[in-house]
Amino acid sequence: MSNVISAKNLTLAYDNGRKEIIKNASFNIKKGDFVFITGPSGSGKSTLLKSLYGQLKPKEGNLVVGGRDLASISSRQLQELRTHMGIIFQDYKLINEWTVAKNVVLPLMIAGYSLDVQETQAHRLLKHVKLSEHADKYPLELSGGEQQRVGVARALAKNPVVILADEPTGNLDDYSSNVIWDLMENACQQLETTVLVVTHKIPTIFSLPYRHFIIESKGVYEVH
């Protein structure tokens, strides 16, 4: 089966290459893989995700996502590639001047779906994350955990090929966390979505087979 993500001797750095965060990492992720990424705070988990959605160019090595070499991708190709990704940010990154419902369907809006479709999908997605009654509120009127679930719903909106999630349950209690894990398991199982999740705590009840990467001392290692 084909690799959705392939990294070879990948080095990531900030400050014009002076501050290296990840060095010489190599790994392959196939379609339908479910990957947990753990590691100490500041080890570079968010940095790795950032490079996967093209916000940070590799300093050295190869990084191929969805068949595109991210070192040489054009901005138009990157734009196209990103429409197949569902990204969940550690700091949510909701658009505060938009309602919750509008935030959730951002990927549908970008794909050019009609307002009717957007509305019904917003309804369906918010039901999934148990936020139906908050559709017309604004993000800043919600609690941290509620905002996080809006971010999850947004990432799932267009059935992405890849989900990149940064601490999607970081602010949630066990019940809400399980709701999120269920959604991701379903996406992976039913739609063969590739899922990468950064988390500090791998869920104890998890029915799918998964892979586990650890980021430590600038390296990315797989636990077997």
């Binding site: 916000q55 734009q79 990704m85 990204i87 951002l106």
Partner: protein, 271 residues
Amino acid sequence: MKFIKNHLMFILPLMAILLGIEFYLVFDRTTDSYEKGLKEGYTMLVVAKKPVTLQKLRQLNPHIATLEAIKREQIVSEVAQGVSKQSKKEILAALPYFYNVGLDSYLGTAALEKIKKDLEKDSNIKRVETFGSSYSSAYRLFAFIKFLLKVFIGFMGIVSLFLIIKQMEIWKYAHRERMQVMEIFGAPLMLRAGVLFKVAIFDAFIATLLTSAVFLYVKFVWAAQSGIDLMMQKQDDLFKMTDMAILLGVALLLVIVAVYTVVFSSKGVQE
């Protein structure tokens, strides 16, 4: 309140530029004939012993464009009123030939002096009167006023442009986060900048309408009651509907350039 302030900060400098442009257009139109008169109404006086032709004068100096003989009989009848017919004939015979000489372009005092010298080289020509100083001072004053106006409008335009860019930077800051989020989800430029374009184009229309309203007021209300001859004669020239198209075109061009500047300079921002 904040909404209105945000728009005014953009509309007012835009209006300043449009008012400047429209003012210049109107000034140019209403004073056009005056300027032409100053430019073309000029003639120098040439006094010759025997009749001359335009070709002959042109050989002496190429700037000479027209030649018009002043009727000698008229001069005599005016100068010699009540003199006998015979004496009039004698005066006429002794009288030299007078000509108004027009030039092909507006020339300065020095150039006029040169023409005078060139013409006086010919022994047939007795005298050349250029009226140089009074002619050029009237035209120069006009040219100077027009130049000052251009400088003033240009200066106002530059200051306003700075204000527009400043306001755009505030917008950019206000919209930066949303534009980044949309970019990460793969939104094309037009969608990311859509709101900015909408707001800016809306403001361009408002600024054009307000500027037009000012000039329509001047045209139909103020000019009619002003008592200034030039204003009342040229009322039609004060504001034309085609001006509105010019102003709208300029306003749209300015805001689109401004939005593009903002959108492109916020691109590739890494947090």
